[in-house]
């Protein structure tokens, strides 16, 4: 496998290797034990099925795979704009939260005297510099971040599995209750497979490989966590992954997990900037944003804009407010809604098509309904349901007036609209 062919896999993995996912995994395993791991396996299968449906080669345009184009063909202009804008909110909110995690990991695990926020800003600035150097540079660095995070985790796992064989080290298992929101959450852990790609080859394979890697990692980490730390402690901890790393290998374990956290955050921020910048360029390419938003130079401008907004969030102390976690949850649900929208769009495209398709339209629509049901259930079982509803409602409220005044005639897709030929 060449370096270039690993790029789409590592972009699809960008969210799966974040500390946020590690926390959800640790808490979930603590609450539900082996049953939660079975739910993870089920979520991996559903996510794989979604990939097979939404990334069919027949849906690719001459520019590769464009989710915006699929939404536009299947659902129309306004739903396409709303769903893409909803996912765009993640590029600001999620990095803000993740950079806080990376800052604390650096300060508490590696260099105690270095201010945590200082490190968060340095990491953010480093990623912006990569994007200023060009989209290709940012893409090339993505496998470096992701393989570093994976390497740290896979170095920890053998030690954990060795401990597991020794019955004497198994902690006392206290059964805790699995809440509905935790039971529904595994589908969120695999997000990242719906991103755009400029590659004209079959785009199902890299996304499926990413899901398979994620599933194997989650199952292995979950099993090791269950056999090294008591379930109740895992369920209650705000950093269960650090707890597990410390139990497995002490200070070296913390160093490895700290490295995985920082590399995972770098990969997530870089990956989200790449995916979101490309989505905005695609929106412009299809006339849903002014043509200027699709110019190649904008692939350098977007990360600067995102970083500016993230910087404002951090400097105004948003990280110290409970609302940031609620907003991230809402943005993740919008990401899941984007996936559901893609499934519905594919269902409608297949239904309208004269040509026989390999996948029945009902399968796509059924998957869309399933994902949307999970999305709604997660929204209504969240502690701060009002924040979630307000945030999710704010996106169409912002997008619809814009789409009403924007000329209905779609402009021609600009040549080389922020895309390049790789990976």
């Amino acid at each position: 496998m060449s370096w270039a062919s690993t790029i789409p896999v590592t972009i699809a993995l960008c969210w799966m290797l974040t500390p946020e996912v590690m926390v959800r995994l640790g808490n979930g395993v603590g609450e539900g034990g082996l049953f939660f791991l079975a739910l993870i396996a089920g979520a991996a299968l559903v996510s794989g099925l979604v990939v097979i449906v939404i990334r069919q080669p027949g849906l690719q345009t001459g520019h590769g795979y464009e989710p915006t184009a699929v939404l536009l063909r299947g659902l129309g202009r306004r739903p396409a704009a709303i769903l893409t804008a909803g996912r765009t909110s993640l590029a600001v909110l999620l990095p803000a939260g993740l950079l806080v995690s990376a800052g604390y990991a650096f300060n508490e695990v590696f260099v105690h005297w270095f201010p945590n926020f200082g490190f968060s800003f340095i990491l953010l600035a480093g990623i912006v510099l990569l994007h200023l150097a060009g989209e290709r540079t940012a893409q090339t660095m993505q496998p470096v971040f992701v393989t570093t995070a994976l390497g740290c985790l896979f170095l920890l796992l053998p030690a954990g599995l060795a401990d597991w064989r020794s019955a004497a080290t198994a902690p006392e298992t206290v059964q805790t209750s699995l809440t509905l929101s935790t039971a529904l959450s595994p589908l969120l852990l695999f997000l990242g497979y719906d991103g755009p790609s400029s590659d004209n080859r079959d785009q199902r394979r890299p996304a499926l490989v990413a899901i398979a890697i994620g599933a194997l990692l989650f199952l292995a980490l979950g099993l090791v966590a269950l056999h090294t730390v008591a379930a109740a402690r895992l369920a209650e901890s705000t950093l269960p992954h650090m707890l597990v790393a410390r139990e497995i290998a002490g200070q070296p374990g913390r160093l490895l997990m700290g490295g995985a956290v920082i590399a995972g955050v770098a990969g997530a921020v870089n990956g989200l900037f790449l995916m979101t910048g490309r989505s905005l360029a695609d929106l412009a390419g299809h006339g849903l944003l002014p043509a200027v938003a699709g110019r190649p130079v904008m692939m350098r401008v977007y990360p600067v804009l995102f970083a500016g907004l993230i910087g404002v969030c951090l400097m105004t102390g948003l990280a110290g407010h409970e609302i940031l976690e609620d907003l991230i949850e809402a943005a993740l649900l919008l990401w899941l809604a984007h996936v559901a929208g893609l499934c519905f769009a594919v269902g409608r495209i297949a239904k309208k098509s004269d040509r026989p398709t390999t996948l029945p339209p009902l399968l796509a629509s059924g998957l869309g309904l399933l994902v949307l049901s999970f999305c709604l259930l997660l929204a209504f079982t969240h502690d701060q349901v009002l924040v979630t509803i307000c945030f999710c409602g704010a996106i169409p409220a912002l997008v619809l007036p814009f789409s009403a005044i924007w000329p209905a005639k779609p402009p021609e897709i600009p040549q080389n609209s922020g895309r390049n030929s790789n990976p």
Binding site: P19, G97, V100, S101, Y104, A105, N107, E108, V109, H112, W113, N116, T238, L239, M242, L318, A319, G320, H321, E322, I323, L324, E325
Partner: protein
């Protein structure tokens, strides 16, 4: 955590007035370490949101409190003890 910023309010002379701001002192982590375990000490972790949840290092026995909600914790904890707030 090296430069642990600690706000200390000596509640021995506690009177609920804004004039107390002049008595707010900073404490180094070494000083707090020496006090940990003493009977009249209450440590309040006033970090919130992800500042709290993403930090691995938490002082054992510290109570979580909203730093801005002065009235609640001023009423809750003994006024003749030493109250230490930490936020980083």
């Amino acid at each position: 955590m090296n430069k642990l910023l600690v706000l200390i309010l000596t509640l021995c002379s506690f009177s609920f007035s804004s004039a107390l701001a002049a008595d707010v002192k900073l404490m180094e982590k070494e000083e707090l370490q020496g006090l940990l375990g003493t009977k009249d000490l209450v440590v309040l972790d006033v970090r919130a949101g992800m500042d709290w949840s993403t930090s691995e290092l938490k002082i054992k026995g510290a109570h979580r409190a909203d730093g801005a909600d002065f009235n609640t914790w001023a009423e809750k904890y003994p006024k003749n003890g030493k109250l230490v707030l930490y936020c980083a």
